[in-house]
């Protein structure tokens, strides 16, 4: 089944990195068909950043995301741009400290940036917390696959930090679901 996922936030949050890690986890470690795309523009930091991943159990032909089933949103601006258009059966995983509105569909509030900064000491891993939350909330790929994807992507020496972030993401969703 085709699943479309939109990642959005602002430049510097690691939005594209998160999509690439997730795509790699799905393609290499979960044996899914995956297409990851991103929008290129002249902005590097502070501007909007977005990336999309399409997952399927069969060949993905049309590569672009048209009506996402899942959103990972890390800024109010990107919520305004994408989150407000989420279809009623979509799932939105949002950074609750940065996104103030809430969508008209299932959503999960993940205080990723706050937790990354206050509990892990590195705001940079907020995107990995969001990935943990995405996987725990939707089950689109297995947790082990995500872990492998993260380990094979992050710089040496940061594995422990990133796995902690991933686990934080799992736990935040588990608490919500409990």
């Amino acid at each position: 089944m085709r699943t479309e996922i939109r990642f959005a936030g602002f430049g510097g949050q690691g939005i594209v990195t998160a999509a690439v890690i997730f795509g790699k986890a799905a393609a290499i470690y979960a044996d899914k068909y995956v297409v990851q795309t991103q929008v290129y523009g002249p902005e590097a930091r502070g501007g909007s950043a977005t990336s999309a991943v399409v997952l399927d159990d069969a060949d993905i032909l049309y590569p672009k995301v048209t009506d996402p089933d899942i959103y990972v949103i890390m800024s109010q601006d990107s919520f305004d741009k994408y989150g407000t258009k989420a279809k009623s059966d979509a799932i939105v995983v949002l950074d609750s400290g940065l996104v103030h509105d809430r969508p008209n569909c299932t959503y999960y509030e993940v205080p990723a940036s706050r937790v990354a900064k206050e509990e892990l000491g590195r705001v940079i891993v907020a995107n990995i917390i969001m990935l943990g939350a995405l996987v725990a909330a939707t089950g689109v790929i297995g947790r082990e696959a995500l872990k492998e994807g993260i380990l094979s992507s992050v710089p040496k020496g940061t594995e422990e930090l990133n796995l902690k972030a991933m686990t934080q993401g799992f736990e935040i969703i588990e608490k919500i679901k409990a």
Partner: protein, 371 residues
């Protein structure tokens, strides 16, 4: 060990080049092709005899790639629209001097600076006709990241086999999107037919393709972009010499276009046949999976154009040609068939959707091919 990777099309082109034994990259960074150069900059210094150089412009990029090809290296450059325009004179030189080299063109919206970060297929005619004079080249059009790898390997082989520049005509969508690719343990490598030092450097047998000896082999070859004889010596004022040379250079490729041809046909008995290449082919494939009343021809090699293939569609009433330009290959198709050809050009960077193509197909299903 073959391995799975999750990479961008541009990186897959680089990996294909390395797998094919490319040892030289000369180029100039330009969006959206830059990742090819960046990959080669990292990979080539790790290979024995490998060399990456960032030149002062694209003219110099293709020039040094041609220079390196004459030392026997598998040599390449990569660029996009504006850089491709700058390369045109030296592409003609590579054709005239029968220099094997591979040019990856990650197409973006043009003309001029246009849309650096958006996809297009607007260089298809420039690839075929962009340099001055009569000539012929080979152009490959990948539609997946896996094909970026495979067709780059194939481009090197064709370039060596036919001793001509070969283009890998990708685009911003394929170049920048990531997919899983399988990198095999090894790839088939076809090097140029060797010559003997005593052979005339541009003398040929019935194949029309001279054997190749790199500089330093004792053949003491003179290579010139001027019209030349079999020895390589300039002879630019003779009507006959020029006609003979250019006809041979064109003929060596065009006479083998059906052997070079690389395509995929699905549902050839349909009345509505899409003809596609590159990334729009993915939308066509999606549509064909939903609508059994259509068929398609997908070209992996667009130039030289294999017009004989068009005869395989016995029931066709309309050819529909979606391209990310305002109709380029559709015109090439038109000149080879009496069947109506409908161009569905789309520019701006977005890909045709299945719904858009379905609407066009539906319109011609009922209209029975009448325009």
């Amino acid at each position: 060990m073959s391995q799975l990777e999750f990479v961008q099309g541009n990186i897959a082109c680089g990996k294909g080049a390395i797998a094919a034994g490319c040892t030289f990259f000369g180029g100039y960074p330009i969006t959206p092709s830059t990742e090819v150069a960046e990959y080669m900059a990292a990979a080539l210094p790790k290979i024995e005899g490998g060399c990456f150089i960032q030149m002062e412009d694209e003219i110099a990029g293709i020039a040094c790639a041609i220079g390196a090809a004459w030392t026997g290296a598998r040599s390449m450059t990569a660029t996009s629209g504006p850089g491709f325009s700058l390369m045109m004179e030296n592409i003609g030189y590579a054709f005239m001097t029968e220099t094997p080299c591979v040019i990856v063109n990650v197409q973006r919206g043009g003309p001029s600076t246009g849309q650096p970060t958006m996809a297009a297929q607007g260089d298809m005619m420039q690839a075929r006709y962009g340099s001055h004079g009569d000539y012929s080249i080979i152009a490959l059009c990948p539609a997946t990241v896996q094909e970026c790898f495979e067709l780059t390997v194939k481009a090197f082989n064709l370039s060596d086999q036919f001793r001509c520049p070969v283009f890998v005509m990708t685009d911003e969508i394929i170049g920048h999107m990531r997919e899983r690719i399988l990198i095999p343990d090894s790839v088939e490598i076809i090097r140029p037919k060797p010559a003997k030092p005593t052979d005339l450097p541009f003398g040929t047998d019935e194949s029309d393709i001279p054997g190749f000896l790199p500089f330093g082999s004792g053949q003491r070859i003179h290579v010139t972009g001027l019209t030349h004889d079999e020895r390589g010596y300039p002879d630019s004022s003779s009507y006959q010499r020029h006609e003979m040379l250019i006809k041979r250079l064109v003929h060596k490729i065009e006479s083998r276009r059906h052997e070079i041809a690389d395509y995929e046909i699905v549902n050839p008995d349909a009345k509505i046949i899409f003809i596609c290449y590159g990334v729009p082919a993915r939308t066509v494939q999606q549509l064909a999976a939903q609508d059994k009343a259509i068929g398609y021809l997908r070209l992996r090699i667009v130039w030289p154009f294999p017009e004989e293939v068009l005869k395989q569609f016995k029931n066709v009433t309309t050819f529909i040609v979606p391209e990310m330009n305002l109709g380029m290959i559709s015109r090439e198709i038109e000149r080879h068939t009496a069947i109506p050809v409908v161009s569905v050009g789309k520019i701006g960077g977005d890909l045709h959707t299945a719904q858009e193509l379905q609407e066009v197909a539906n319109a011609y299903k009922t209209a029975g091919g009448q325009r």
